[in-house]
């Protein structure tokens, strides 16, 4: 099976990409992740100006779930620029620059600044569940706000394709994805973390995270992510590229994500369980499965569940 994928004119050696967040700060770390097998990387959410984030503890992991409320800490444009330049000097793999801002206007300004660094895609984070106490409900909470941010970013992003990253914590993610696409989004990334959730220490009777609550990721959220990706694929007529993210830990998980409608597959939390090598392992597992099944090209798998259902007269939606 051919695993390389050309998406919106950008060639990925395989469909796996580092999801935004984990290992997201240091350029030489991104290069290490590509050496470990990833087809591309996504930066941590980048701001125009430095943003502190939350005090520690910010992230805790069990084999079942990870809870994080890092709070979008990042050093601003100059810090990101230095790391992106380091990565570009070390690796030819595509770089997706995830950006974040606190207002619609600032999203446009942030996009304008970051496209000067020539990312392969911009990914717009409107769905972090950990900063409600600072910024209120995420823009991805309703179609109107999501569309407004998309419009503002597209107005300033020139030819750089724009993916909007959505939250699963809404009643109808398909409707929000469609509103983004109607406002010019070139693709959708789904999902951001679930919840938020809570973990409590028994003896101290205290929440463990300093932010008290944090977004849930890890193996357990995969069914939610798959459903969201399938909903988005259906709502956008299978025409919009989707980066599927959420709980992907194995090659089989990645295959499922493709069948639901994804073109690329983000991996993040699985690093805690399988190490940086998770990318190479997932790619190997995909290759073995695809070869055994006689799949010629990985692109055949994107949305294949929908086609299978339709062929049986029972469309997904």
């Amino acid at each position: 099976m051919n695993l390389s994928r050309i998406l919106l004119g950008v060639t990925f050696a395989n469909p796996t990409v580092l999801a935004a967040g984990p290992m997201g700060i240091v350029g030489s770390g991104w290069a290490a992740i590509v050496r470990a097998g990833a087809g591309g990387i996504t930066t941590k959410s980048c701001w125009l100006e430095a943003h502190e984030g939350h005090p520690t503890p910010v992230a805790i992991s069990t084999p079942h779930w990870t809870l994080n409320a890092v709070g979008l800490s990042q050093g601003g444009f100059d810090a990101a620029k230095a790391e992106i330049e380091t990565f570009r000097a070390a690796s030819k793999a595509p770089l997706i620059c995830n950006i974040v801002a606190e207002s619609v206007d600032h999203f446009g300004e942030t996009a304008a600044r970051y496209v000067t660094l020539h990312p392969d895609f911009l990914e717009v984070n409107i769905s972090c569940p950990n900063v409600e106490s600072d910024f209120g409900k995420p823009f991805s909470s309703n179609a109107k706000d999501a569309a407004a941010v998309t419009h503002a970013v597209k107005a300033k992003s020139g030819k750089t394709p724009v993916f909007v990253k959505l939250s699963p914590n809404v009643p109808n993610i398909g409707e929000i994805a469609k509103a983004c696409v109607d406002s010019g989004a070139d693709g959708i990334t789904a999902i951001n973390t679930v919840g938020p959730g809570l973990a409590i220490d028994l003896k101290s009777r205290m929440p463990i995270l300093s932010n008290k609550v944090g977004g849930v990721s890890g193996r357990g959220i995969k069914p939610i992510a798959l459903k969201c990706v399938a909903d988005i694929y259906a709502a956008t007529g299978g025409k919009t590229p989707i980066i599927g993210v959420g709980g992907v830990t194995t090659g089989e998980d990645a295959m499922e994500m493709l069948l639901a409608g994804a073109s690329l597959v983000g991996i993040g939390t699985a690093i805690a369980e399988r190490g940086l090598d998770v990318f190479g392992k997932v790619v190997e597992e995909m290759q073995a499965w695809g070869d055994a099944e006689g799949v010629k090209d990985v692109s055949e798998l994107t949305g294949a569940m929908h086609r299978e259902l339709s062929s049986r007269g029972s469309p997904y939606a």
């Binding site: 984990p22 290992m23 770390g29 992740i33 943003h51 069990t62 800490s73 810090a79």
Partner: protein, 288 residues
């Protein structure tokens, strides 16, 4: 949970009936003992075991206040000991805790010192880096290798674990202070250089922990003398379990909380940022 290869699956079994502290998420425990080692250095002991090895660290959580990494100063199967410099907000709050108070712990994390088949190991401890080195020295003795100790600090009042190190009966023990208030006046690197010139061929490993400038000096010195070294390094460990990427170092992109903190000298030398810069909690480079 992913652990470093050298740490995975090699933890000694806890003493029968001992409390296992091994956890990937913080769990609070009552402090069994607190002590002040020097004006700035506190000691805290908790009943239980991580099954940790010398050089590994734990994340210490003060509920509602802070979480930070501390190297494990001892893990004897019944108690875990931390020795720490009370310099930041978190460690000062830790120093104010009393017996019976709660602290949260998760770990152990990271790589550790390895004696392998060594016949002779020199342990070099500088300043705040002395905390894990008594544990490392104990490991050398347990492995049946000859132990030589070089320990230093700015002044006599800042030396820690001197009696405990002497009790291990090292073949030689050299104390260095910047001001000559104890032992010889000078740096641990002066004493190590002399030893390497004199007896380098008989030394299998140098184990060291201390300020970064000292580590870069020892790294270069050991390389020049053809003596292998394991060096304990430090960056901002935000999550401790290899996820956040705050402790990734240039240009090789390793995570010091997973692939470190104890590095072989070859790996240490491949990290060009040691002695030059480090990133803050937001990833901005700051000069060392």
């Amino acid at each position: 949970m992913k652990r470093s290869p050298s740490a995975a699956g090699k933890h000694p079994a806890p003493v029968s009936g001992a409390i296992s502290l091994d956890s990937t998420i913080p769990k609070t425990h009552h402090i069994a003992e607190t002590r002040k080692l020097t004006e700035q250095v506190g000691l805290i002991r908790v009943a239980g075991t991580f099954g940790a090895k010398a050089g590994q660290f734990a994340m210490v959580w003060l509920p509602g206040l802070d979480e930070f990494p501390l190297s494990i100063a001892d893990d004897d199967g019944e108690h875990v000991t931390f020795a720490f410099f009370a310099v930041g907000e978190g460690t000062k709050a830790l120093a104010a805790l009393k017996k019976g108070d709660l602290i949260g712990l998760r770990g152990p994390f990271g790589t550790h010192y390895r004696c392998d088949e060594a016949k002779r190991v020199v342990v070099v401890a500088g300043g705040y880096g002395s905390a894990p080195m008594r544990f490392a020295a104990k490991t050398v003795v347990t492995a049946g290798a000859q132990l030589d100790v070089i320990v230093g600090a700015k002044t006599e009042a800042m030396l820690i674990f001197i009696e405990e190190l002497k009790a291990l009966k090292p073949a030689s023990m050299t104390i260095m202070t910047d001001d000559g208030s104890a032992g010889r006046k000078g740096f641990v690197t002066d004493a190590l250089e002399e030893l390497l010139v004199r007896e380098g061929k008989t030394i299998d490993w140098v184990f060291t922990c201390g300020p970064e400038k000292m580590l870069t000096g020892i790294s270069a010195m050991c390389h020049a003398h053809g003596v292998r070294a394991q060096l304990s390094t430090q960056r901002y460990f935000k999550c401790g379990n290899g996820m956040c990427g705050s402790c990734v170092v240039d240009p090789i992109g390793i995570r010091l909380c997973q692939e470190g903190p104890v590095l072989d000298n070859d790996t240490f030398r491949a990290v060009s940022e040691f002695g030059a810069y480090r990133r803050d909690g937001l990833g901005r480079k700051q000069n060392c």
